[in-house]
Symmetry: C2
Subunit: 458 residues, 2 copies
């Protein structure tokens, strides 16, 4: 039957998901709650609502409803770029000469170039419904900032983006896309916030980090009336919005009677990975399958494979609540040589908990191998992948090559989260042979862990 599966399938409109899947409702145990760093007590909804939109906070704290309806106002914008295609990678299979069946869900066919738009549009919608006038956020490579700029343009909200300074300088065109959608973009650290000024005084000339940009955006949001902060990954409600990826993928594969043996996704903050695996993981948590879930992270920023499962700040200025997660410490700085994205020091609490409880595994891969896989993929499948997404390609290729050795016809599904149009400087380094691998040594890790807050529980 699978021989007849088309190269590319768009889920029919009638089967499009009308609700997100709340993975937490399927987990045997809740992950540990956010803590207020000052009191050491769990954060109340009211505390969180000073920072985030009200509906997002309700979703963040909801661990009981298995489904959460996608409002009509969001689904009508989803129609703008969803369904995304589920592709049977016939050309890659041929290139690898593997008996494995490889599928990927491609989220790059929208102007933000990635899956980020799934949550951006939801968060902007809820902000608009709440009567807010503006939003703030941080962005690293710029995909999230672009997605949110698109969403804010659509709903008529002002947007202020703090962009990690190295990216701001290296990716002027990504910045320009955000401006084209009407956002204002500030390089971080900036002198417009206390968090930025403090970092600048301690580390003059620093290129910044996501953690610092988050701190600046939160500060700006909490001091501005009618304004809230939105985050593009890590948090439970973001992961919730990303479950549309997994739901569409599973709906298509179910149409063809295909069940994956392995599901692979790249992990930065963990929301795309969590969203991709959600419907299959919900089944696994109920004992209905035994899928091998593989999260892939860069060896240069190995928050899961070499991090600690501990309470930590979500930002480097230590102004956010504490989250229990795998983390390298909120002061961990990836090497500037690291070109492949996925630089965040921590990981989604949901994904962290699933990993800690043994429901999935993690692979850490080197960026030179990631770019080699990306180029191989591009030349046969056509799509130019984002370096982030190529982490998943690398491991999918490895798994498929193992099948060539063993002769096993595994079914592999991976998430292709976005395109690499704005990453050509990194591709150039790879093409020129100047891209280097960086793997933090024990001293680097110890430096990062020294930033971990002391919390009674840990």
């Amino acid at each position: 039957m699978s021989a007849k599966i088309p190269y590319k399938t768009y889920l029919p409109e009638s089967r499009m998901p009308k609700a997100w899947l709340n993975l937490k409702a399927f987990m045997p145990e809740d992950h540990a709650p956010f803590l207020n760093a000052a009191t050491g007590k769990p954060c109340s909804a009211a505390e969180l609502e000073g920072v985030f939109c009200g509906e997002c906070v309700r979703q963040e704290l909801n661990s009981t409803d298995k489904e959460i309806e996608i409002p009509e106002g969001i689904r009508s914008f989803y129609a703008n770029f969803r369904p995304s295609p589920l592709v049977r990678a016939y050309f890659l299979e041929r290139e690898l000469d593997t008996p494995a069946e490889i599928y990927y869900k491609f989220e790059g066919n929208n102007t933000s170039g990635s899956h980020k738009l799934n949550s951006a549009i939801a968060q902007a919608y809820y902000a608009k419904e709440q009567g807010l006038k503006c939003l703030t956020t941080e962005t690293g490579a710029g995909q999230w900032g672009t997605a949110l700029a698109m969403a804010c343009a659509f709903y008529g909200l002002d947007l202020k983006v703090f962009m990690v300074k190295t990216s701001y300088e290296q990716k002027p065109y990504r910045r320009e896309v955000m401006r084209t959608y009407g956002a204002s973009v500030t390089p971080s650290p900036s002198d417009t916030t206390n968090a930025g000024r403090q970092l600048l005084s301690r580390f003059p000339g620093t290129g910044g980090s996501l953690g610092c940009a988050i701190a600046e955006a939160v500060e700006e949001a909490t001091r501005t009336p009618g304004c809230r902060y939105v985050l593009g990954s890590v948090l439970d409600h973001v992961l919730l919005h990303q479950t549309v990826i997994g739901l569409e993928s599973k709906a298509v594969l179910d149409m063809y009677g295909v069940m994956p043996d392995t599901v692979i996704g790249c992990m930065g903050g963990g929301s795309n990975f969590g969203g991709l695996i959600a419907p299959y993981m919900a089944e696994k948590l109920q004992g209905a399958n035994n899928i091998d879930f593989i999260g892939v992270e860069p060896a240069s920023c190995p928050s899961m494979s070499r991090g600690r499962y501990a309470y930590d700040f979500c930002d480097s200025a230590k102004i956010t609540p504490l989250a229990k997660m795998y983390t390298l410490g909120c002061g961990f700085m990836p090497s500037p040589d690291h070109a492949g994205g996925l630089r965040y020091h921590g990981m989604s609490p949901v994904v962290s908990k699933l990993y800690h409880d043994g429901y999935m595994r993690v692979e850490a891969v080197k960026q030179t191998e990631v770019f080699a896989a990306a180029e191989r993929f591009a030349r046969c499948e056509g799509i130019l992948p984002a370096p982030e997404s190529a982490h998943a390609i690398k491991v999918a290729v490895d798994e498929a090559l193992k099948c060539r050795e063993s002769g096993r016809k595994k079914v592999i599904l991976f998430g292709l989260t976005g395109t690499g149009y704005f990453d050509m400087a990194a591709y150039k380094c790879f093409n020129d042979g100047t891209l280097k691998d960086y793997i933090p040594d024990e001293a680097d890790l110890a430096r990062g862990f020294s930033f971990l807050p002391s919390v009674k529980e840990q």
Copy 2:
């Protein structure tokens, strides 16, 4: 009925075109043939086959078969990125508050970022079938070069791209995409060809032109064994391959019982426009409709609205055969201020003939208005358009606004040929308010016309 049309429709696989439409077979009169510039006689197939692939030459000279089958080997690659979506622009309609129904066919959802891949893949396929080892081509903004690099990577052909030097320098990332797909990229004019060396000696420091890059690519192809030249627009066989755009569009609109009143496309060399209008124009030529076809060109390079219908070279070094077309003269150089693409001095002989015979009309628009329309479109429809494509948006918006005045519910279809990810430098000028309009004066035009060859017929 049209109220129920989805935002975005992908043609079902069962209805995908299996043949291109040969518009020439519907035209009451053939356009004038290519002439050998030395003899003044029509070019023989054998002469053309020294430059182009054999099958492309057969298609070029075929004005009798109404349909030409799309080989299975091409259709399987088309599956990689086709069908492209036909979008009902509900958000743009709302933004414009117009009673018009606006549809667009979006060709940008592939890594080349444009419709160019439709012909690239066909020409690479035929080259491979013929046993050729390498291809050469020119590229300006880089969309065509990228498309052909993808196609050559897929079929295992070597590719040498001559890239207009100004673009080569302004768009290093576009160049890098081609390299990632394995192509070699040379800035034009280069010192590797006679054509390049001649231009460099006459105009040291010149930024080059498409005409010169064509001359270099043709020279390289004709002196290299097992190598041919491929062109990304203008020629009849390229237009033929682009008819897949119009065929898919019409098939979707027919499914919904929608008949356009106006069909709008941007025009550089004319192949996307010709491909978009083909099935509707074939009907018009048979008296079956009276659609208003509007080709849109930049006011800075007005080959149709201010050019001459005359025999001219396709390149600036005057080594190609002569084509009868609307042209500004093969030595016409658009202003370097012109950022919006569509810089070619001539126009498809098929489109030129249709225009000359009164079956369509042309509008020339200023680039500042084009970018304003692009930004307005991006903010409501989400897609960031290529400046080239935004020429069509500009006129579609104008037409829809006229409907708001008149109250008429026109049905407007336009071609959205690609995305603007690699055009952010131009968007930046627009956002900064530094983008200028350039309109050639009579002296500029006269200078261009002075390059026209003397041919008995004209």
